[in-house]
């Protein structure tokens, strides 16, 4: 289930459970396309940019991250609306992407990906043998 309305991060419904007793969030995404690239922005507040993994396997783009909350010393929680958890989301891309030129940046809790489209392979001429 993806929560697209309002504020919340949706929580994933999955067949396999996580080993950690923490929620798995589906980061909300904006995806748009230009003539030569696909752009993906994901909301991942609290994620450590060094621990975000982005993989492109065949045509499946998978993003994972983890939001960590600092537990301040000498403070006790009195109200909680969000908690730490994992971020996971994957997309099946309809177009071939040049995996070597993917650019990723993380700023203010937003992961921005630029996925340049692969150049189409030049047409090959095949000669016909005749004997």
């Amino acid at each position: 289930m993806t929560d697209v309305s309002g504020t919340g991060k949706g929580t994933a419904e999955r067949t396999a459970e996580s080993t950690r007793a923490q929620p798995v969030y589906i980061p909300q995404a904006d995806i748009y396309e230009t003539k030569d690239a696909l752009f993906v922005s994901l909301e991942m507040p609290g994620a450590n940019p060094d621990a975000i993994s982005i993989t492109l396997d065949k045509r499946v783009l998978a993003v994972r991250g983890r939001s960590m909350q600092k537990r301040p010393a000498g403070f006790s929680p009195v109200h909680a609306e969000y908690r730490e958890g994992d971020y996971e989301r994957s997309f099946t891309l309809s177009e071939a992407i040049d995996g070597d030129r993917i650019e990723a940046s993380f700023e203010d809790g937003i992961l921005d990906l630029k996925l340049p489209k692969a150049q189409p392979a030049p047409a090959k001429k095949i000669g016909v043998k005749h004997g």
């Binding site: 995806i31 909301e43 507040p45 301040p72 929680p77 109200h79």
Partner: protein, 145 residues
């Protein structure tokens, strides 16, 4: 005959009652009791001399946010900007919301507006609100008569 509801019968099952209270406390923290109906989602922490508020504000720039403190209320106002794109793009998904937001919360005690500090990291805003010097709890020495 007076009937006690089992939940409040402190004498019958003191351990069970304690366990139930403990469960309730654990649940309060482990499962957000108010799963972010309002934006931004907040966590509030209380210390002896200060209260700490953290808010998830991905994509909101610090200069687009405004904090107001009055006695024991804190107001967070801000604006989420839509993604800036070139003119000829086609959107596949547009799930992130944008626009202005405002949220006011009551803090556990009055705070000193001059010493409020706020910083943002990875899309999480942390606001530290210290208690005024005059209102801090004080230890009283008991003197012998």
């Amino acid at each position: 005959m007076i009937r006690y509801t089992p939940g409040v019968d402190l004498w019958g099952e003191p351990l069970a009652t304690l366990r139930r209270i403990q469960d309730e406390i654990n649940r309060t923290f482990n499962e957000p009791q108010a799963p972010a109906a309002e934006y931004p989602a907040l966590n509030i922490w209380r210390g002896e001399d200060a209260v700490l508020v953290t808010a998830e504000v991905p994509g909101v720039r610090m200069e687009d946010m405004e904090l107001t403190v009055h006695q024991n209320t804190l107001t967070i106002k801000g604006k989420r900007a839509p993604v800036a794109t070139e003119p000829d793009v086609s959107f596949h998904r547009r799930e992130r919301t944008f626009g202005s937001f405002a949220r006011t919360i009551a803090l556990p005690f009055n705070v000193d507006p001059d010493r409020v500090q706020a910083c943002a990291e990875n899309g999480v805003l942390t606001i530290t609100l210290p208690r005024p010097e005059a209102e801090r709890p004080r230890k009283i020495q008991i003197s012998k008569a």
